[in-house]
């Protein structure tokens, strides 16, 4: 008998079981898809309106209308993966800590973080993700630009880095429920923080902007999650700076750092877990 679980097969079973559940509650699935797609279209409409008043975000930043839509598409792709794979699991994890049902996850002969992070998958996130893909392709056509193979690979890689940074922050925040006892505001807090990362870094300048850029780049590196992959596609169209090149290795370091710190917080939280009630 094999002693190590087959992680890929377990993940496939999670995907399958979640799909079976979603198909059972098809009305709920439909409403979920419609509401998340509406959010995407409202956002898109809002930025179309904004670009009626200005051709670019800031002078000489390179973020014209379609360049920004490439950025928006990148946000949609990362958020789609986060929402589909991790968001409801992180909320559930926080709730399991509060109610003591995390017991069962701790009994299983498999990595607890893996089990907790991917147990329930939201298929309805496919809608916004697909919108992201369409918007990406459409915007690339609009700017008459075809990325080279290396650029595509790097874009994919930094998308994954962005997902990993977001995920790390989310799971670490959920794990703090062990010490806080109650962490119902996880979703709100998550929205507040990631709100900053939905715009190009260039807008954070001046006495108010600089500290925000600094904090969300070096301390809680959410700003680079979307910015780095998006810039890989967009910035080759405009002059490169030395800073841009430095962002690439920094994003990898920030991703590794985030994963390590969140793993540490997660493991610490399991040690302090009290298993509420019987």
């Amino acid at each position: 008998m094999h002693t190590r679980p087959h992680y890929f097969r377990v993940l496939l079973t999670f995907l399958r079981n979640s799909l079976v559940r979603d198909m059972t509650f098809r009305a709920n699935f439909l409403i979920d898809t419609i509401s998340s797609m509406s959010w995407v279209f409202m956002n898109l409409g809002f930025y179309i309106l904004v670009f009626r008043y200005t051709p670019t975000i800031g002078a000489n930043t390179g973020w014209g209308k379609h360049e920004f839509f490439l950025f928006l598409a990148t946000t949609l792709l990362i958020n789609g993966v986060i929402r589909g794979l991790f968001l409801s699991n992180a909320i559930e994890f926080s709730e399991q800590i509060r109610t003591g049902t995390l017991d069962f996850a701790l009994l299983k002969p498999i990595d607890t973080q893996f089990l907790v992070s991917l147990g329930r998958i939201e298929w309805s996130a496919i809608g916004p993700f697909a919108c992201g893909v369409l918007l990406l392709v459409y915007s690339l056509f609009q700017v008459h630009y075809l990325p080279g193979p290396l650029q595509m690979v790097l874009y994919g890689f930094y998308l994954l880095c962005g997902v990993a940074i977001y995920y790390s922050l989310m799971i670490a925040m959920a794990a703090t429920s062990v010490w806080l006892g109650r962490n119902k505001t996880l979703l709100d807090f998550w929205f507040y923080i990631t709100n900053f990362s939905r715009y190009p870094m260039e807008i954070y300048t001046g006495t108010y902007g600089d500290p925000i850029r600094w904090v969300f780049t070096f301390l809680v590196p959410v700003l680079i999650a979307v910015n780095v992959p998006a810039r890989l596609l967009v910035r080759p169209l405009s002059p490169q700076s030395r800073e841009d090149w430095l962002l690439l290795p920094f994003a990898v370091a920030a991703t590794l750092g985030s994963l390590i710190v969140s793993r540490w917080v997660f493991n610490r939280s399991l040690l302090s877990y009290r298993s509420a009630s019987s």
């Binding site: 079981n17 299983k108 002969p109």
Partner: protein, 342 residues
């Protein structure tokens, strides 16, 4: 080497003490008072392979905490424990593959999916070979008579059916050690009986080591020879079921019905009268004088029917708590109620 070895195992918690009212809540924002609760106070226990042991005690006695420590869900404050040679709270996968914990008050199956989907997930997590998985699942569903319910969503099962599915989920990987925390809680008499029968058959077939907590004395009488009683974090009895009755059940219950259907007014001279529906009468009689009392009743009255029984186990255990000197007496009033059958 014993399968389960526990030495001076202790677990305490800091619990926030909140006084009543808004003012106290506001004070609590700035300054909090914590109380240390000693859930388990240094217990020693050994279980041999294949034993089926009942772990009894009132609510808050430390039963569930002990099971959680042995399952590695929580870590102790001090002391040691080894189960099949593993330290549970190290959470080795090799250990987690070899035991199971079933909790009557918490469920692990996917609520919205049929149980068979959760079973498949267990198959992947524990990496059970397909043939073995099918065989074990069929054996368990057959024994518990739930095969036709496998494709029904868990939320549409009755409590008893759900408990059976929880048991199956816990046993699919053929654990060698099983911790059962009130597996029959809230179940009706028939469902309780079914689960008891299943546990007895399963244990006899597989010779697994089982530690069972339950408030239902019928579970204990039906399943376990050895009983461990814990109260306020300490073990106060460890021995046979009969041993408790011999040691603490200092009396027997004599019930009878006279041929003429009357209940004489002077029955009190034989022993303490217990409430009973006429025309039957029930007496609490000191164990040492039972034969004598029976002789006198038979000599003085025409008897239609008579029986002599041990007192109910919950009463005996309540008596045990009364005799345990170092236990907080203010808690004793709760004991018979806590141990009684609902």
């Amino acid at each position: 080497m014993a399968t389960i070895e526990i030495e001076r195992l202790a677990k305490s918690y800091h619990v926030y003490q909140k006084s009543e009212g808004l003012a106290a809540s506001i004070r609590g924002l700035f300054r909090r008072q914590y109380r240390e609760v000693q859930a388990v106070r240094g217990i020693d226990l050994q279980l041999e392979q294949g034993e089926f042991v009942a772990f009894l005690g009132p609510n808050g006695a430390g039963k569930t905490t002990t099971l959680k420590l042995l399952s590695g869900v929580i870590a102790p404050t001090s002391g040691t424990a080894r189960v099949m040679g593993f330290v549970p709270w190290h959470r080795d996968n090799a250990y987690r593959r070899r035991f199971a914990l079933v909790m009557g008050q918490k469920n692990q199956l996917w609520w919205d999916l049929p149980a068979q989907e959760s079973f498949r997930l267990h198959q992947q997590i524990y990496r059970i070979e397909p043939d073995r998985f099918d065989r074990t699942r069929d054996e368990l569903t057959g024994m518990l008579q739930v095969r036709q319910l496998l494709s029904q969503p868990v939320r549409e099962l009755s409590l008893g059916e759900r408990m059976k599915m929880e048991l199956i989920a816990a046993l699919l990987h053929s654990p060698e050690v099983l911790f059962l925390d009130e597996p029959t809680i809230g179940l009706d008499v028939i469902a309780q009986h079914n689960i008891q029968n299943f546990l007895r058959d399963y244990q006899q077939r597989r010779r697994v080591t089982i530690l069972l907590t339950s408030h239902y004395m019928k579970d204990v009488v039906a399943l376990c020879r050895r009983v461990v009683i814990i109260a306020w974090g300490r073990i106060i009895y460890d021995g046979s079921l009969e041993g408790i009755i011999d040691r603490y059940g200092g009396h027997k219950v004599v019930s009878f019905q006279l041929a003429d259907g009357q209940i004489p007014s002077d029955l009190g001279r034989y022993g303490e009268m217990l409430p009973e529906k006429p025309p039957r009468a029930k007496l609490r009689v000191e164990r040492s004088v039972v034969t004598d009392v029976l002789g006198r009743i038979l000599a003085n009255h025409a008897i239609k029917d008579v029986s002599v029984e041990d007192p109910p186990l919950e009463q005996v255990i309540a008596e045990m708590f009364n005799q345990a000197d170092d236990l907080p007496k203010d808690k004793l009033a709760e004991v018979p109620e806590l141990l009684s059958e609902e």
